[in-house]
Symmetry: D2
């Protein structure tokens, strides 16, 4: 069983630019995270975009949907900013890719900053992607949520079940 | 759905004693790891023992089995040294706790040492425990293995499917 | 010999706000850094301001100068953003606090982000402050510079001798 | 001004062997530490030995003394296990290398373990080596001690002035 990982940026991949003092995106940290996690999965990693999910447009979402539709793999993990993760999940559900298990995950703290939740979330998302039935899910806070049954609580930073 | 976590030690929980220069066990790091992972699960954590799994006796395993049998939860994650994780999985399978999903996991690098795989594995194990059918499993390297279908390759440090 | 540490913010103390996704200042990390460094010095820590040094005004600098003038200690370390560290050094030199050894230091990467140079720089600055003669210095990159003989190279991020 | 760094091992350079579960020595971490500290010093790094200082023999100390005597540099920093650092300092003082400033330093926690004091100590030792007069010193806990005026308190892990 092969899993495709689509990296789209988000807090997961933010870095600190020491010359400007600002956060920015460069390459995805997913390969380093997989090495640290000693993952021995059949994985295909692809960077679709590297951006803050607040800046994502309908076009960006359409590209993510297209990459999922075109992918040969039945299991897909998408690393994504948490702010609009649920929106992208909706776009994916609308696309009715009914034979695929798609799991979106992200992080509240950049992986590069040492104290990140990203490694926990990536381990979680890859695991859910292997065993959940076809559908679109969000994996955050150790839980999995159906695409239409969760939201990010902006005040607390955690994902909540809505139904 | 509540998950019980049984901490038994292993590399996960090794620490460096700066006065003696040796590795030792103190308290489990699981609570700190759950905080870092921002886990929002209904969890019950219990320390059964804090030891190197190479030092585990049949008595220690019997205690772990008993704790699983007595637990009210149907989902159980056991943090365990990797060297004899499969042995403990066998002991658990022999106990025929047929309604429970039990997932053993561990780490190759101590969590306290920064570059650990432990957070990835804990995220993975907690996720598998929520969705796999009843049975005894090992979750390592991003994968899950049936208790009777894996071994640790001592030369490479990774878990392999045996069947 | 007692050393006063004046914390003013700068990259040293930047943190990641996981709710807004932005960098911000909260409390100084100097106490945690001193614990990690196992410093056994007679230290007095005082937070003068917590800000990006690019935002520092003449008033802010006047407050720093005043705190140095009023301090009873002859050795002072100032943690400071690197961008205008040399400007503050000039303001301090202009104040002619001739009996004091004042060492400014900073960091290129926030201490909270794991891969920071801050701990190295703090160890360096505290050491220089104990042995250099009275004067105003910048301690960065393992070196010490007289206040009027260095600049930050914005393209490379390192401090250079100008004379 | 060029500084020679002699790496001899000690806690500084201990690593965790994930296959055996034991601490061991491989290469020195000093180059990585200098990169992290963004050191811009004229440095010559040499590994004399990689060992626990409790295992050091008179022969090992003689090699360290010889390397200091033969070195062209007037400033030398030695990374060393803390347990017998003072013994090596004595051996160096006995050698009467009167024109050289030699600073020994170490760590209580291995650099590879994330929470190490090593980076602080290295920054401190390199700074003291640049400004202290000729002599043999120990730099630990942010302080510098004359070779014959300090000891490691084994119960607390800190260095203390003895006179």
């Amino acid at each position: 069983m092969r899993i495709r990982i689509l990296a789209t940026g988000g807090t997961f991949d933010k870095e600190y630019d020491e010359l400007t003092g600002r956060l920015f995106f460069q390459d995805t940290h997913v390969p380093e995270m997989l090495r640290r996690g000693r993952a021995r999965l059949d994985l295909e990693l692809e960077t679709v975009t590297m951006m803050d999910s607040l800046d994502m447009t309908a076009d960006d979402r359409a590209r993510i949907v297209k990459r999922c539709r075109d992918a040969e793999e039945r299991a897909i993990v998408i690393t994504h900013g948490t702010d609009t993760m649920v929106e992208t999940a909706h776009a994916l559900a609308d696309a009715r890719l009914d034979v695929k298990t798609i799991v979106l995950t992200g992080a509240m703290i950049p992986y590069a900053f040492g104290s990140s939740d990203g490694l926990f979330n990536l381990g979680s998302a890859l695991s859910f992607a292997q065993v959940l039935p076809a559908g679109v899910y969000v994996a955050m806070n150790g839980q999995h949520f159906a695409w239409n049954a969760c939201r990010k609580n902006r005040a607390t930073g955690v994902f909540e079940r809505t139904t």
